[in-house]
């Protein structure tokens, strides 16, 4: 058994470079499907920006990444777990990884789009809202689905709804701070870390206060301003 384990580790380690090469061989666009064909009737809009974080999150979930993620999730299941529970855990795991990847993808898209659109006279809301629009809808819907799927696994309704709300609050607050920072060419990391820590700290002291303040802070970050 020891020999098998050692051999597996060495094989995995030696194959790392080959796997990295294989992963780099394909562009991200390979994993997101064909783009809609342009027609000359199409009016210019920033609509396509809203698909960018989704595309990034889907591209991250390429088979090379998903298989490792699923494997780790499945081996955490105790022996004797029913197939139904295992499937439920796997789906929840995949959805959680998608919402996490999407949260990160919005930040990456914001940084990328800000650099790219910096020389244009675009206004803040015209920049921020298209990037967030579809990602917000995905986060809300998937957080509710995850919460519902956790119920058969023994979670309490109030607890999962609270966690979903807290997650959404932290994600939206982080996005708006980051978008604002990128738009103004400012570093926003410290502001994000401070805001998240303050929100969680307030939640520890009095449940609901941190979420309320974070929601106000989110709206404040979305106020109209010139770059």
């Amino acid at each position: 058994m020891g020999g098998v384990a050692a051999g597996a580790v060495v094989g995995w380690w030696r194959g790392g470079a080959r796997r990295a090469q294989a992963a780099e061989r394909y562009q991200d666009s390979r994993y997101i499907g064909r783009a809609r064909r342009h027609t000359l009737q199409d009016e210019p809009s920033t609509h396509a920006l809203s698909g960018l974080p989704i595309a990034r999150a889907l591209a991250w979930h390429r088979p090379e990444n998903t298989k490792v993620f699923l494997l780790v999730f499945m081996i955490t299941l105790p022996l004797g777990t029913s197939a139904q529970t295992a499937a439920c855990v796997a789906i929840v795991g995949l959805l959680m990884s998608y919402t996490g990847a999407l949260a990160r993808a919005v930040l990456q898209t914001a940084s990328e789009a800000a650099r790219w659109l910096q020389a244009t006279p675009i206004r803040f809301l015209a920049f921020a809202w298209p990037i967030m629009r579809r990602a917000v809808a995905h986060q809300v819907v998937l957080s509710l689905i995850i919460a519902l799927m956790l119920l058969p696994l023994g979670a309490e309704v109030a607890a999962v709804l609270y966690l979903a709300l807290l997650w959404l609050t932290l994600v939206f607050m982080t996005w708006t701070i980051w978008l604002h920072g990128c738009f103004q060419s400012e570093r926003a990391l410290i502001k994000v870390v401070g805001s998240v820590a303050a929100t969680l700290g307030m939640e520890q002291l009095a449940r609901g206060w941190g979420i309320g303040c974070a929601a106000l802070w989110t709206v404040w970050n979305l106020r109209t301003r010139t770059p």
Binding site: A35, A113, A119, S185
Partner: protein
């Protein structure tokens, strides 16, 4: 009329100063070539013009609008070709054009830009994702974006890198036609003396964050008339490099 006026410009990254007192003006209809070795501040100047880097001291006016106080008006007259690696890889070329046009407040993509795209043989690629493009195709899309909205000042940073000779020639002809119509002026940061020699109206050498030498249209004409490597020699002398 000046499309670009820069007065006593200081800028840098962190505590590191890069630009130290730049004074520059570009008249409409002028092709201005900004020369200089790597790392002297050419791209930093482009970043200041695009609003990516904050100006520490001095002023920038684009088509009469101050960048610091009339930001939207100044940017609406500006066309900057971004670096090819800045194009979002998961958008198609059309989507890039649509987003950029919308960001510039346009209701349609300029027919002149579409004609240029056709001439540069890039239209066939526009329905594909940018991350499948070659460097040359990305470069072409970047230039097309800069030309959207008929800008008064076109800023190109090494925009001919990666272009095939035919595309480079077509692009130079297109830009020359825009200049001839006095519709704009061009600021080109480049290492290519060939472009300076054949297309540049005015040139300047940037060294250590300062304009070390400027050549007027008459002076450039005289260097062209001397032929040979007169321009290269003039640049070497201005840079303090001895030629064999």
């Amino acid at each position: 009329m000046n499309t670009l006026e820069i007065q006593d410009l200081y800028a840098g990254y962190g505590v590191q100063p890069v630009l130290r007192g730049i004074n520059l003006h570009i008249e409409a209809g002028t092709w201005f070539c900004l020369l200089g070795p790597n790392g002297v501040g050419k791209s930093t100047l482009v970043h200041c013009l695009s609003g990516r880097l904050e100006v520490r001291q001095g002023s920038i006016r684009i088509c009469g609008h101050a960048l610091q106080t009339e930001l939207l008006a100044a940017k609406s007259r500006l066309g900057v070709a971004c670096a090819p690696e800045q194009l979002p890889g998961l958008l198609t070329g059309w989507q890039c054009l649509e987003i950029y046009a919308s960001a510039k407040g346009l209701t349609q993509i300029d027919p002149a830009v579409l004609e240029l795209a056709e001439a540069l043989s890039v239209v066939g690629y526009l329905d594909r994702y940018v991350d499948t493009y070659s460097l040359g195709t990305r470069q072409k899309v970047c230039v097309l974006l800069a030309l959207l909205g008929d800008p008064g000042l076109i800023v190109l940073d090494e925009a001919f890198n990666g272009l095939d000779p035919r595309s480079a020639m077509l692009l130079k002809q297109h830009l020359s036609a825009r200049l001839a119509a006095q519709r704009c002026s061009i600021l080109l940061a480049t290492h290519s003396l060939d472009i300076v020699e054949h297309y540049g109206d005015v040139a300047a050498l940037l060294l250590d964050g300062r304009i070390a030498q400027a050549w007027t249209a008459v002076e450039l004409g005289a260097l062209r008339a001397r032929g040979g490597n007169a321009l290269e020699q003039a640049l070497s002398v201005a840079s303090g490099v001895m030629m064999a």
